[in-house]
Amino acid sequence: MIPDATALTVGDVVAEASFALTRDSLVRYAGASGDFNPIHYRDDVAQSVGLSGVLAHGMLTMGLAVQPVVDWAGDPARVLDYQVRFTRPVFVDATDGATVAVVAKVGAVDPEALIARIDLTVTFNGATVLGKAQARVNLA
């Protein structure tokens, strides 16, 4: 069922989720995306460029963060536009992994076009890792 755009109020939480990332997740994303930058699977390479260790691909964080919105809207085709700014790295510990939490809220609604702007708050270790994370969703 498609959410009723006219019933949405700015600030409503429409979806929440958390994602447990492991090093396996990063290897899987590397293979699926073709991004084999070794800072996403080798601590020594990450440390050689001044990072504390292996970090998740920004595009992996971006990719998973929109999934709660896709499930709320009911169809990935409803996402018309999606943008983020990468503000902080998500370090993925070799044994403990990392947990990324997503809260999706209504940022704006166009009741004529039945399009909602959903704003995402994406956090790791209590700090936001994406800025201006917004998806425009067709609810017509």
């Binding site: 994602f19 997740s25 899987r28 994303y29 293979g31 699926a32 995306s33 073709g34 991004d35 460029v49 920004g58 595009m59 992996l60 971006m62 990719g63 998973l64 929109v66 999934q67 896709v70 499930d71 009911g74 169809d75 990935p76 085709a77 996402v79 018309l80 536009d81 999606y82 943008q83 983020v84 700014r85 990468f86 201006k132 998806a135």
Partner: protein
């Protein structure tokens, strides 16, 4: 070497067409934790009005990648890959990417700005289908760190 300001406005030749495979869509979907049946199951996709599985919203990065490789390899570009950090990313869709699509991407450098010793390069990849109709535009801002 620093980023060549003359890159601004440069339009690159289209890259070779990318054929979107159903299994690639599923593989990418698993990688980004996309569990919606429309990403995985052709029957579910058809029931929702699509002729095959629908790619997740960030799948266009796979198609865009070859255009960014062109940019980084541009002989007079002055972009040192080891100094590049991904700043922003955006995807603007006219229609979703569906398995079976043959997509062609064309890169344009729309802006080069300097900010505190760094360069911000905005690269826009326009992705069209086999009929030449617009599917999605993928926009990346790359931050190229200056010499320390």
């Amino acid at each position: 070497m620093s980023v060549n300001p003359e890159l601004q406005g440069r339009v690159f030749p289209p890259v070779a067409p990318y054929l979107v495979g159903r299994e690639k869509v599923r593989e990418f979907s698993r990688a980004v934790f996309a569990t919606n049946p429309i990403n995985h199951d052709p029957e579910a996709a058809r029931a929702a009005g699509h002729h095959d599985v629908v790619a997740p919203p960030t799948f266009a990065v796979v198609v865009q990648e070859a255009t960014l490789a062109q940019l980084l390899a541009e002989p007079d570009g002055g972009i040192d890959f080891t100094r590049v950090v991904h700043g922003d990313q955006r995807f603007s869709y006219t229609r979703p990417i569906i398995a079976g699509d043959e997509l062609t991407a064309t890169l344009a450098v729309t802006s080069i700005k300097s900010l505190g010793g760094h360069s911000m390069v905005t690269a826009e990849s326009t992705i069209v289908d086999a009929a030449g109709d617009h599917v999605v535009t993928a926009i990346s801002t790359l931050v190229v760190r200056g010499d320390e």
